[in-house]
Symmetry: C2
Subunit: 169 residues, 2 copies
């Protein structure tokens, strides 16, 4: 018998306390949001410190590299849209990647305001290696669930994302 981590003990306690409170308190909605954010936070910290930082990347930098790897040359404004980042955050991340020789900016032929970000050869090597490591680590995280359960979980998350409130960017 193993002891529960402190965050799960707290989560279970908070859920019980909220169950005794009147609306708008909602113990189930709280538990869902709490565990969702807790898992995401632990996963992000784990991937960042264990895989990407030791390679000289940040998680945000890796995610940009990965998008460039799949999509090819892409404008910063499009990277910001699909990444839920601001344009200035993309500017900063691309600066870091460019300093490390992993990506480059090129002027856009069609629009003189625009820029296109492209992966360098070193960037492609870096993203391949980091991606392989991240994929293995994700499998470790999700090993507690069977394949059908993992797909079920992804489906539920996707439905929430599709139905996001109208005023969410």
């Amino acid at each position: 018998m193993s002891t529960l981590p402190a965050d799960l003990l707290y989560g279970a306690y908070a859920r019980e306390r909220l169950a005794t409170m009147p609306p708008p308190a909602d113990a189930e909605a709280f538990a869902l949001a709490y565990h969702l954010l807790q898992l995401a936070s632990l996963l992000v910290t784990d991937l960042e410190t264990r895989i990407h930082r030791p390679r000289g990347l940040t998680l945000a930098g890796f995610r940009l590299l990965f998008k460039l790897w799949l999509l090819g040359p892409t404008q910063p404004v499009r990277l910001a849209e699909i990444s839920a980042m601001s344009r200035s955050a993309v500017t900063n991340a691309v600066n870091t990647l460019e300093r490390g020789g992993l990506a480059e900016r090129r002027p856009s032929p069609a629009d003189r305001r625009a820029v296109v970000v492209v992966l360098t050869a070193a960037g492609e090597t870096a993203v391949r290696e980091a991606f392989a490591e991240q994929a293995r680590r994700e499998q470790e995280w999700f090993a507690a669930l069977g394949e059908a359960e993992r797909e079920q979980l992804t489906g539920l998350l996707t439905r929430i994302l599709r139905a996001r409130p109208a005023d969410v960017p």
Copy 2:
């Protein structure tokens, strides 16, 4: 018929591309991690900008206030454990709360190194009001799922958290 948000279009495309790659690429694990992190990121940004910032709080500050509300006077080291934050982040957040008159530090009677953080009356009012608003907003986010589905989702997330890799703090 409505167009899919850019992040979901990208997510679906990436999943398809990964399905054609050899291991360790794992399209299903990628899709799960991607949608999990995307949803958490959107939810955090939404709660922070829509609810807590307008009230002069940060999301981290609110989460600390909420824990103090449920747990009563608590040591920073314990707040750090259950929040997946570093002790220095707790120090900073408590400084901000203290400046705003929402919480206070008191010396611990038993241990002269230690400090206990307590909610002020203003802090309790603030946490009550912010909590009610956040609960309502969370319900809007999760309205796409039925009650049974929400519990199912929480259960799957909790199982992953319980089985977290051994070397995760």
